[in-house]
Symmetry: C2
Subunit: 399 residues, 2 copies
Amino acid sequence: MSQTVLPESAVPSIPTRILLGPGPSNVSPRVLQAMIQPMIGYLDPDFMLIMDEVRELLKRVYQTEAANTLAISGTGSAGMEAGLSSLLEPGDTVVMCIYGFFCERMVEMASRIGANVVPLRAGWGRPFPEEMLEEELKKHTNVKMVTAIHAETSTGVRQPMTNLARLAKENDALLMVDSVTSLGGNEVLFDQWDADYAYSATQKCLGCPPGLSPVAVSDRAVDVMRNREKAPVSWYLDLSLLGNYWGWEGNRVYHHTAPVSMILALREGLRLALSEGLTQRFQRHTLNAKALCAGLEAFGLECVVPEEHRLAQITVVQIPDGVDDSSVRQSLLRNFGIEIGGGLGELAGKVWRIGLMGESSKAEYVLALLSALESVLPKAGYEVAHGSGVAAANNVFKS
Amino acid sequence: MSQTVLPESAVPSIPTRILLGPGPSNVSPRVLQAMIQPMIGYLDPDFMLIMDEVRELLKRVYQTEAANTLAISGTGSAGMEAGLSSLLEPGDTVVMCIYGFFCERMVEMASRIGANVVPLRAGWGRPFPEEMLEEELKKHTNVKMVTAIHAETSTGVRQPMTNLARLAKENDALLMVDSVTSLGGNEVLFDQWDADYAYSATQKCLGCPPGLSPVAVSDRAVDVMRNREKAPVSWYLDLSLLGNYWGWEGNRVYHHTAPVSMILALREGLRLALSEGLTQRFQRHTLNAKALCAGLEAFGLECVVPEEHRLAQITVVQIPDGVDDSSVRQSLLRNFGIEIGGGLGELAGKVWRIGLMGESSKAEYVLALLSALESVLPKAGYEVAHGSGVAAANNVFKS
């Protein structure tokens, strides 16, 4: 085989998008720049220091003093599976609060592991009713774990965690929290919730490229992992081995080759988030979402989630009757370079999901989207009053 | 929580290293640059085209016409586990050829899955004796799969694949090949071996950062996955779902958020490798390794693997009696910025592993390492003749 002449790429360079879908979000140039530092060995003493630094920075965003942290070498779903497969053994009872697409993914994963899955299915688009969990827990004596999603990307609901967390603890169950879409965008209170395992992803409110799943693990959960009867089926996602690799107990045991560039990106993303200040960052997310919703409502569109339960980082809006989902999204993308997301599961074709996360949560992007919708919606058969969306959003920004 | 003043990083910027360990290797500036293109959505039509392009480029490096390819969102070990967990069901018999550290990792993973693992253990540092496999296969009637590692990074042995492959086929078993350290560095002949599953990693001879595992899957293996009795325990590494996501059968089904930046890096790395020409690339690796070995032998050091079985991409050399492993490696790193690797498993403390892979396989790095060793080895109590290593290497380059 001699030298090959390759055909030109179909997409030789990536177009610049305003990413207002459910993630990935836009990435700060400083984070991108962090990725192109020279490569370094995964056992290099300097890289060990960087891993230690990432662990410390993760503790700050998870608002925990005591938990053990690391970044799994996979995406958010890898974090979900690592927790389920490392904490549950076949036959263990896990009670799962279900109120969206990603909750159902947890059911699928836990079932594959052979756990005794008790899914509590509540309606999509509202917070999970805690009394359902309370009633169910009365029926069991040995629930190993309770799971919940703090920010369901499929519905845009902010799940109040305090009471679910209390119920789990009262029943001596571990608490696993999905914070994929919340970490860095609103309060994830690992210690205050007395959580045992939380996982997230880098491409949402942390403003990094996708590829890692930052996690926090309580000492109690570590004990559970260390005292399993049998090793988890997954070796790659075995949190106990990953903890040894990240030096939770001092010395480090080789596991796999860490994705160096992604970890450098995460370090920079975490430093940016903490430098902004978590409170300020959450306020920014809240303000921009409020302006977006005001604009959408001025167009006569309806947000699915009642205001008091809405996530700031993802807004789920009804597609008006007669308007074609994909042609609107394609037009936004092709004519304005703006990506928004479609619905998932039972909401497919019925809603749009508009993400304002991390670097994508900016006033100018809110205004750009509302202005673009003003052009696109009428072509899709839905009339909007000229200037109404932008004016409503600007009113929020001025207030 | 108000705005945080963060302490300065312990390692604010990454030092430039010459990476001559077992990976990661150095990364071309063009590949690094590819990673910092603007972020793009994982369902963006332009990104779909890029995924298609990566699949095509992977077919070329795997030298396959028919196989299905994709890049798993995890490191090489994720590729190992994905193959085992997607192709084996509990109780299935898998015969594993064992001749190094990473072969043993396969045993561990397959055991966790509940497979009936038949490990055939041969000595480290020599190719696996095919008659061992031939004898073993006579004892079984229903072997589901045979596994082998093409390039064992722990020993530096190039495993001849043709006869192992033939034996697997004669016994109607699937053939799984680890090409983590070989893909892009020497011939991986997926079609010629009639292989069913091969996996690799990006940070070795493909010259990219670590984080992805490029794989090739035969149609026969796809059939096996599609017709399992039960879904694999791992959802994240379920190759059948990943194939749907990468569009093996046309339409695409959402699975997880692809690590966009890493895929852009892989695309550029593959284009660079194929533009160089696979044959030329393999010759480059061979020449540089030959020069390195000549230099090491001029110092009186001994390469572990007989010349005819040596890998060009990783050279395993005995540590002379009385010389301290880690002080030599530390001195190379701290005083010369050169990383080499230590031994793994039964070879820990006994050997050094010197990688010349992808971007790290360069004449100037060979000469830099030999020159540095000329300074470092005497301080560790091992005398070498001045200039002998460099002269021997240069003789190879001149020939």
